[in-house]
């Protein structure tokens, strides 16, 4: 799975996610990617794109949860992202995956609970990251 999230000069966010699914999946199996809120979500607070086991994202609406934690829990992007992918319902079901997220202030969150995640980020606030493992 691949994905991207961004915030532009107007403070508008967007999220895009694309996948070939899982190796040896059943024909017709739909993962999280195209389901709004599960593996892809954006609103006036943040944009989020997920990767990992799609069924876990579908069952927990992990990407939407990031936005909810920010809006209703008044959490920072980092707290909301980590809380959604490393705690809460995702942890309860032993969920496997990661996500990238940005907020309207240009903050970036790259978090995962797996062994690694191919990831990169760049921002006008000085973030410049390319990483695979921890």
């Amino acid at each position: 799975t691949v994905g991207a999230v961004a915030v532009d000069q107007f403070g508008h966010t967007a999220a895009a996610t694309s996948t070939g699914g899982m190796t040896n999946k059943r024909i017709g199996r739909v993962g999280d990617t195209p389901v709004p809120g599960a593996g892809n979500y954006a609103n006036k607070f943040c944009a989020v794109s997920g990767t990992g086991v799609g069924e876990h994202f579908l069952r927990t609406l992990a990407c939407y949860e990031v936005a909810c934690r920010m809006e209703f829990g008044e959490m920072s992007l980092e707290e909301a992202g980590r809380g959604s992918i490393c705690g809460g319902r995702f942890k309860e079901i032993d969920g496997s995956g990661g996500l990238v997220a940005v907020d309207t202030l240009g903050n970036v969150c790259l978090c995962f609970n797996t062994e690694g995640m191919y990831r990169a980020a760049r921002s006008s606030k000085g973030v410049d990251v390319v990483a695979i493992y921890d």
């Binding site: 799975t1 691949v2 991207a4 999230v5 961004a6 915030v7 532009d8 000069q9 107007f10 403070g11 508008h12 967007a14 999220a15 895009a16 996610t17 694309s18 996948t19 070939g20 699914g21 899982m22 190796t23 040896n24 999946k25 059943r26 024909i27 017709g28 199996r29 739909v30 990617t33 195209p34 709004p36 593996g39 892809n40 954006a42 006036k44 607070f45 944009a47 086991v53 069924e55 876990h56 496997s96 990661g98 990238v100 309207t104 240009g106 903050n107 970036v108 969150c109 797996t114 062994e115 191919y118 980020a121 760049r122 921002s123 006008s124 606030k125 973030v127 390319v130 695979i132 493992y133």
Partner: protein, 177 residues
């Protein structure tokens, strides 16, 4: 305002011990190049929507990633792809699922968002829409990569479903797959 972009190319049991220094360098180079292209769009006044579509499209065209050209195989030895896009300030979104042969599902997802009254199109309906708008298609050979084919053979042998980065790592079974 501040601009920012973040990308991912998948997560999972990426095996440290089987990652050669050449593979590691190539992946980091591609990630760097991809995120830079998106960042340039943003610094030149482009929209977040344009930036995320462009960078995901680039990764779909790269066989290193499980999307577009590098998609993994289904149990039937075919490729079925999903994609979605969402715009935060309008809450508009569009997606396609289980599409075959479409070169860039992410652009098709954006077209669903911008050119239809719907949010999600699947299978034949999505492919018919793709033909209507002139979206590029590719033959099955375009999506074939030996690495993905070998992954399928190993998954079939063990009767499991696997994340694209799993080698002999955590299996996905039962309710989760």
């Amino acid at each position: 305002g501040s601009v920012a972009i973040a990308i991912h190319g998948g997560a999972g049991t990426i095996p440290r011990n089987s990652m050669t220094s050449e593979m590691d360098a190539e992946l980091r180079s591609v990630l760097k190049e991809t995120v830079e292209s998106g960042y340039n769009i943003l610094t030149q006044g482009g929209t977040a929507l344009d930036a995320v579509e462009k960078v995901v499209l680039q990764m779909e065209d790269n066989p290193l990633f499980n999307a577009g050209k590098g998609s993994v195989f289904t149990s039937a030895g075919t490729h079925e792809m999903d994609a979605a896009v969402m715009e935060g300030h309008t809450l508009r979104c569009g997606g396609v699922t289980c599409v075959r042969g479409v070169r860039n599902p992410i652009s098709l997802a954006r077209a669903v968002m911008e050119k239809t009254r719907h949010v999600l199109l699947c299978g034949e309906g999505a492919e018919e829409f793709a033909r209507e708008i002139g979206a590029p298609f590719e033959p099955p050979e375009y999506f074939f990569t030996k690495r993905r084919f070998d992954q399928l053979q190993r998954a079939i042998e063990k009767n499991v479903t696997r994340l694209d980065h799993s080698v002999d790592g955590k299996e996905v079974e039962g309710k989760t797959g």
